[in-house]
């Protein structure tokens, strides 16, 4: 069960292997070998996983998971359109919301400090090509 994830990944990758299985070292040779190996391993892991009962995964907490990944996603979508200022604010606030220990006043200070760093150091001093404003 714990290993099923790997089995899944392996099977999915192995399904992808019909890309040219030329034995004379075509582009598909290496992936084919690896895909099959991983699939076998995944299978072995599944079988062993079924044998060992009761090994349970620590429960997943969704708040940090979703909010952290979400704020990274916000950065990815916003950076090219909204400019560095808006993106920084959104990303940091989103990330801060992931921790139950965050306090609003601290977050505001943090945003201001990081904004100064993002604009001052990264955009001006290091010359990274960020727009400041949307548009």
């Amino acid at each position: 069960m714990l290993f099923l994830f790997f089995g899944g990944v392996a099977a999915w990758v192995a399904r992808d292997y019909p890309m040219g299985s030329a034995v004379r070292m075509g582009p598909g040779y290496f992936p084919l070998v690896l895909g099959v190996l991983l699939a076998l391993l995944g299978l072995a892991a599944c079988i062993r996983g079924l044998g060992i009962k009761g090994e349970h995964i620590e429960s997943v907490r969704f708040r940090p998971l979703l909010l952290i990944l979400g704020s990274v996603g916000v950065f990815a979508t916003a950076i090219e359109h909204a400019g560095i200022i808006a993106t920084t604010i959104l990303t940091v606030v989103g990330a801060a919301a992931a921790s139950p220990e965050s306090r609003p006043r601290e977050v505001i200070v943090l945003v201001i400090v990081l904004l100064a760093l993002a604009v001052g150091v990264f955009t001006y001093a290091l010359g990274l090509p960020f727009k400041l404003m949307p548009g």
Binding site: M25, L41, L126, L128
Partner: protein, 499 residues
Amino acid sequence: MELLSNLQLGFEVALTLQNVLYCFLGVLLGTLIGVLPGIGPVATIAMLLPATFALPPVSALIMLAGIYYGAQYGGSTTAILVNLPGEASSVVTCLDGHAMAQQGRAGAALAIAALGSFFAGTVATVVLAIAAPPLAELALRFGPAEYFSLMVLGLVAAVVLARGSLLKAMGMILLGLLIGLVGADVNTGQFRYTFGLPNLADGIGFVVVAMGIYGFGHIIANLEHPDERKTGIAPIGSLFPTTADLKASWGAVLRGTGLGSALGILPGGGALLASFAAYALEKKIAKDPSRFGKGAIEGVAGPESANNAGAQTSFIPVLTLGLPTNPVMALMVGAMMIHGIAPGPQVMTERPELFWGMVASMWVGNLFLVLLNLPLIGIWVKLLSVPYRLLYPAILLFSCIGVYSLNNSAVDVGLALLFGLLGYLFIKLDCEPAPLLIALVLGPMMEENLRRAMTLSRGDPTVFVTRPLSLGLLIVAAALLIMVILPAVRKKREEAFRE
């Protein structure tokens, strides 16, 4: 004599104002992230990689190297004072280091850790200078078959030395190799595993994966547990170790240095393994093992020397063979390639100033570290009171900026997000991500050498066993693999990691 002139060249490079400055910056940052739990050298180096674009390659590599071994110093501070490992390689230092702190002897523990590390760093620098040239010479005689076998050996060792289940480690290796295949095929240009996305044509950047797994993945996992640093910081007390302390620890420092230097060279080794092994060794040879865990100074001196020695000697395979042995080294390979240097034996002959400059800078860096860590310890202690809730949004933002600015690609940030999810799953499933990263870097090289070897031998697979060097490497790899599968050794390995 050649060694001396080489070292002289190295110091000439390392002691230019600019390089001294970057070396200092590197070890400063290294200490900083070493002190802070929750951020490690892998994420930091990945984050800073884009910022080094503008630097000359020597300065960039000197700084990045400084971060790695600097973190080994900083990690011990947190371990001793707060009983939390600032760095994974300081886990064992917590045991006796914090016990000493509770007895009011934190200062002595810190001093021994720093001095032991300095000694180990000095020795490791010399080891690097002596061992690297002959290895590089040997490697120059390697053909594609030897390279392929060498990489097989590297991957096998990565499995053997990884923590946790062997099966999982093997799975991680294969997964890493597969991820390394994404993109256009080198020989034919055919797109593989790109799923029709043009952004994947160049493959998945190593930094993207490292950042996702070590940056984002770890932040998520850290946030699941409330901030643990409320236990309070132990007072430092006198920094001067007593003569009894010095007497008790010099042997441990020597042993730790030797063990660390040796383990650092092995694939899959490096600082982490070195510190665990050194602790186990000290405990085994001590006259009274029961003292360990209750403030035995050998338990601080051994592992701390070992992790620093291991951190430095792990540069040997990278600089001579182009073979990364741990995730940090894999990033160094990436950094070298970004700066247009192909890692491998030719670095030493074609860019001697780069190689020897780095070697010399390590010693300079170690000197800085002693100065930074002993007199300025108070500043680092203050840093410890910065709570994680203020740190992680900053780490997250800088990681995003770092990944984005590598190629100015928002898609890369999105990819890093996916790897962040994957990294989180790995932590949940107790899978060590290091083998995956090593395999990711080795994958493309391995395939290329395999195909080249097969072309040269006209499709005859016996080429790997008929060439003596290649055969030798494969035999070592097979022997390693058989050893861990044997039940007796397996049990011992599990015991060793449980310490």
